[in-house]
């Protein structure tokens, strides 16, 4: 059976690509520290020597629209074009082409449906920065085949937080039941407190540093019990109007498992939102 060699949860900051590649006067003062943290974080994936990446993210009204909105969707395609005109325009993100791992997509869809998750699928999916940001930070060669999984954290009504956790747990079990010798890393990105298009946006920190502190603690210690006790669809409005993206972190806590302490934890307090990086090694830390 396949082995899950790393579980990684991260924020996806679309400004990283431009900040890290800028030079001279265009290079922001925080870029060097940010690059250094990302380089260390990247090493946690490289050391696990993955063959395949399962990538959990959320479409930002690119391909998925309100006339036909899935809650959870699995890509099943041989290739995925990536990044959209408005991401190139606003963030300077490059166009990309990623390979797909269709066997694993098919396995996740079949087993997920059988486990009671009515997963939508797409055979032609153009993915956005929720998936490409972690490719850029963690695997800039973009050489490994992927299975993208999209969640709806964006267009209410949303699934309950516990459903994200349940799906994460199921994804872990399903990947581990894939009849393959391949080494799989499961990577998901979300947000800590975040405000977009509201009065608290683009402040010197994330809109709710206290929420961020608690959230990092929950994730780092695998404290799903406390996290689920405190986080509801209603409560997530208060740290910032885009904080429902935290539910993708909760999904990744489900993948890592209740009580699973992260093997690697780092964060970076930036303007606008806090960055946070976590890695678990379910089969033990690689040599």
């Amino acid at each position: 059976m396949a082995s899950v060699v790393a579980v990684i949860a991260s924020t996806h900051h679309p400004f990283y690509y431009r900040a890290s590649t800028a030079t001279g006067e265009d290079r922001p003062p925080f870029a060097d520290e940010w690059v250094s943290k990302i380089t260390a974080f990247r090493e946690t994936l490289t050391r696990a020597r993955p063959d395949v990446l399962v990538m959990v993210g959320s479409d930002h009204f690119h391909q998925l629209w309100l006339d036909n909105m899935p809650q959870f969707l699995v890509g099943k395609a041989p290739f995925y074009d990536a990044n959209w005109y408005n991401e190139e325009r606003e963030f300077g993100l490059p166009k990309m082409l990623l390979k797909g791992q269709e066997d694993l997509s098919a396995h996740i869809l079949r087993a997920g449906l059988d486990e009671g998750f009515d997963l939508a699928f797409s055979n032609e999916l153009r993915i956005d920065h929720s998936v490409t940001c972690p490719i850029i930070t963690l695997r800039p060669e973009a050489d490994l085949p992927i299975v993208p999984i999209y969640t709806n954290i964006f267009a209410p009504p949303l699934p309950q937080p516990k459903r994200f956790v349940q799906l994460g747990k199921a994804i872990r079990e399903i990947v581990e039941s894939w009849p393959s010798h391949l080494r799989v890393a499961i990577i998901g990105t979300g947000h800590l407190s975040l405000e977009l298009g509201g009065p608290r946006q683009f402040g010197p920190h994330g809109p709710d540093p206290e929420f961020d502190r608690k959230a990092v603690e929950w994730i780092a210690t695998g404290d799903l019990e406390r996290c689920l006790a405190e986080v509801t669809l209603d409560s997530l409005h208060s740290p910032g109007n885009a904080t429902h993206g935290f539910m993708d972190f909760m999904l990744m806590m489900g993948v890592a498992g209740a009580g699973a302490k992260a093997d690697y934890v780092d964060s970076l307090d930036l303007f606008h939102t806090m960055e946070a990086y976590f890695t678990w090694y379910p089969s033990g830390a690689p040599a």
């Binding site: 629209w65 606003e90 267009a155 405000e195 946006q201």
Partner: protein, 119 residues
Amino acid sequence: MSKYLVDKFLYTVDRDPDLVERYRTAPRETVEWWEQSRANEVLNCHSGEASTWLRFTDSERSALIDHDHVALFELGAHPFLTLTLFIAMFERDHGPLEYQKAYGARLAHFSMPYPDIAT
């Protein structure tokens, strides 16, 4: 209320570079043309099929024509869509992050809970 249609306007304009420029420079003409000829297109469908019933309320139409992001927020337009499109149109006239901060400051009178964005 036709929040969905306001979101659809923001979404379809934002993804088309020509429409972004047209809406920036000629908002009334763009909004009226769009409502007349684009509002009823079914986006995730082959061409040639259309809906028949979609139109803006007067306050929605005015908010779009006036480039009034505060009114759009109040009406429950999806804040991500509004922000992304307005950055595309107006950030170029300002220093780094100046537009984004002023955009937030103009919304300072809103407190929790914000207007409902469910469509």
